[in-house]
């Protein structure tokens, strides 16, 4: 048997845990066997184990090294493992002496029975060499190919064969019960069922909760109605008795609750919420942030009412404020420009109706002034010119008066 196929067995792929040997550990010196035991039997490990177990482990390693360092056995009847062409034509299933001698199982049994120096390795050898090569993994699939598929199934792929073998072996391992037959074994199916059941229960609970809420609300409304009826009758009785008068009560507040201003505190509420108007001198070198009002399109308050109710100083404040703003935007604009403003307002109105007006809105840039009506969804130009105050209606009136 002269087999020297070096490229067939790559060491890196074959043995992952193979590491370089330690000093003296892998040497073939048979007298250096005891030196490596200290590496495997550290004091910490020895503290956890009994002396008998430690001795057994050390003895096993010692036996393994002794076995590796000793030369191979020389059987008396060494079999011919390499067959010739005639042997290939023979039936390999026949038990022939040339292929079964030497029998390593028989040799191991003899070692164990005679308590030889390699007897400790018999357990390890029995676990390993008893593995059937064609019964494991991918080999088992093709070994069972003839049992699973008939010769008429010549087109069946190997994947289908694998699936069939896995299913059959799974059933064999579970006493003939397949996955779909037993809900306990069918985990995926049971998970799906549980999930569906959970969803159905949640839907049902949701529906029940709605009905329950509806019933609770209905019951609550009934109770409230009953209570209102009872209280209404009770109130009627109370009113009839005269404890509560139907006439309005006038509360005379004393001046003592106003600590500082007294009666002036009431005048604060009558003050206009608009910011105070700035004088022309104050606005000479300052550019205000308040935008121009080109055209007043909507009047929320009636001019007459506002004029009547408005205090003279408030009207003047509003008038000054509006005029100043318009003058600030166009300093050279005269009083007659109000008509131009109106015309521009018409143009703007047309622009507002045009959906393709290029200028877009910037509503957020408008000043936060009380009583301002902010145009929403309109163009920027209109936003700039469409700021309207409640009492800005006086502007038109003022402009008209001025025209006159």
């Amino acid at each position: 048997m002269s087999v020297t196929k070096h490229e067939k067995l790559q060491s890196n792929d074959f043995i992952h845990s193979a590491t370089p040997s330690q000093s003296g550990q892998l040497s073939f010196d048979p007298y250096d066997l005891s030196s490596g035991d200290e590496e495997y039997l550290t004091p910490r490990d020895l503290a956890k184990t009994t002396p008998g177990q430690s001795d057994r482990a050390a003895r096993l390693l010692t036996t393994a090294r002794l076995y590796l360092n000793s030369p191979p056995e020389s059987p008396k009847n060494w079999g011919q493992v390499n067959p010739n062409l005639d042997d290939y034509h023979s039936d390999p299933m026949e038990i022939r002496s040339t292929f079964w001698i030497p029998d390593i199982a028989q040799w191991r049994r003899q070692q164990e029975e005679t308590h030889s120096k390699y007897a400790d390795l018999s357990n390890v050898a029995r676990d390993i060499v008893s593995i059937i090569p064609h019964g494991v993994g991918g080999e088992a699939r093709f070994s069972l190919g003839r049992d699973v598929l008939g010769w008429r199934q010549s087109k069946t792929t190997r994947v289908a064969l694998w699936e069939k073998v896995v299913v059959s072996q799974y059933a064999r391992a579970n006493n003939g019960i397949l996955v779909g037959d037993d809900p306990v074994l069918d985990r995926s199916e049971s998970d799906n069922d549980l999930e569906l059941k959970r969803e159905a229960e949640e839907k049902q609970l949701h529906r029940m909760a709605k009905v329950h809420d509806f019933l609770e609300m209905w019951q609550g409304s009934q109770n409230l109605r009953t209570t209102q009826k009872e209280s209404h009758a009770h109130n009627k009785q109370m009113t009839a008795v005269g404890y509560i008068s139907d006439t309005e009560e006038s509360v005379k507040a004393s001046w003592s609750i106003f600590e500082h201003d007294g009666a002036a505190a009431f005048k604060l509420s009558e003050r206009s919420p608009l910011p105070p108007a700035l004088s022309a001198e104050q606005l000479a070198g300052v550019r205000t942030q308040v935008l121009n009002v080109g055209r007043i399109r909507r009047i929320d308050c009636h001019p007459a009412e506002s004029d009547d109710d408005m205090a003279p100083e408030s009207v003047s404040d509003t008038e000054n404020w509006l005029n100043c703003n318009s003058d600030l935007d166009n300093p050279n604009e005269s009083e007659g420009d109000c008509d131009a403003d109106n015309e521009s307002g018409v143009e703007l109105e047309n622009c507002f109706e045009d959906p393709e007006c290029p200028e877009q809105r910037d509503v957020c840039a408008a000043p936060n002034i009380p009583a301002l009506i902010r145009p929403i969804g309109r163009s920027k130009k209109r936003t700039e010119t469409g700021l309207v105050t409640v009492n800005a209606t006086g502007t038109r009136r003022i402009c008209g008066n001025r025209k006159k």
């Binding site: 087999v3 196929k5 070096h6 067939k8 067995l9 790559q10 060491s11 792929d13 074959f14 043995i15 992952h16 845990s17 193979a18 370089p20 040997s21 550990q25 892998l26 430690s54 482990a57 096993l60 390693l61 393994a64 076995y67 590796l68 030369p71 191979p72 056995e73 060494w78 493992v81 390499n82 042997d87 290939y88 034509h89 390999p92 299933m93 079964w100 029998d103 390593i104 199982a105 040799w107 191991r108 390795l121 357990n123 050898a125 390993i128 060499v129 008893s130 593995i131 059937i132 090569p133 093709f142 070994s143 190919g145 003839r146 598929l149 010769w151 199934q153 010549s154 069946t156 792929t157």
Partner: protein, 216 residues
Amino acid sequence: MLGVLITLTPGHRNKFIDFQKAKVRIAVHPIIDVKTWRNSTLELLERADRLREFTREWLKNPEFSEYRSLYTTEDEWTIVMYVMEVVLPLRYWTLWMSKRHMVTLHHVITVYNHMFDHMDGVLQALAEKKTQWKEDLYFTVKFARQKLSKYYAEVTPTTGMLLVSAHIFDPFRKLRLFRKWDKGMDINPEDETSYITQYQEAFLKYAENEYCAKHR
């Protein structure tokens, strides 16, 4: 193809069986190759060789004269016999490894090497041939060797330790095979990268982790 036609209908099959009557003890049909069966190709060829005479008689029937173009000539039978010789060791070792009477795991590496040796021998024999079918067979065997190498590479990383351990547990060989590998590659057996050193170390670690740790 001829086997498919013979077994296509009951009439075809009965006619084919009739030709075998009084000539053989057991009349059989040709078989079809099943890709998921081991050695089914070799069995197909063997059965076809066995039924060669009856196939010729079946084709002589005027009813099946349209299939006469499928008749296998003597040259083609030569090719078939050559292919059978190439495939024969694969079936042998497949059946040999499938035995349950004795321990065979420690021979896995040896069997692989035998098959590689066989294919190398066939490739060497066909390398200088100029005949078309021999050239085709050369490339076929070459691909078969690559396939075998692929299987060998896929098996060894997963069950490598078991294979190596089983091989080492053979008391009549132990590390002799690995020593030959080192010698063939001119590697000093005492070197850390040698096969014998790596496998010896792996075997000791396996014994320590799997057995010594349990006894502690």
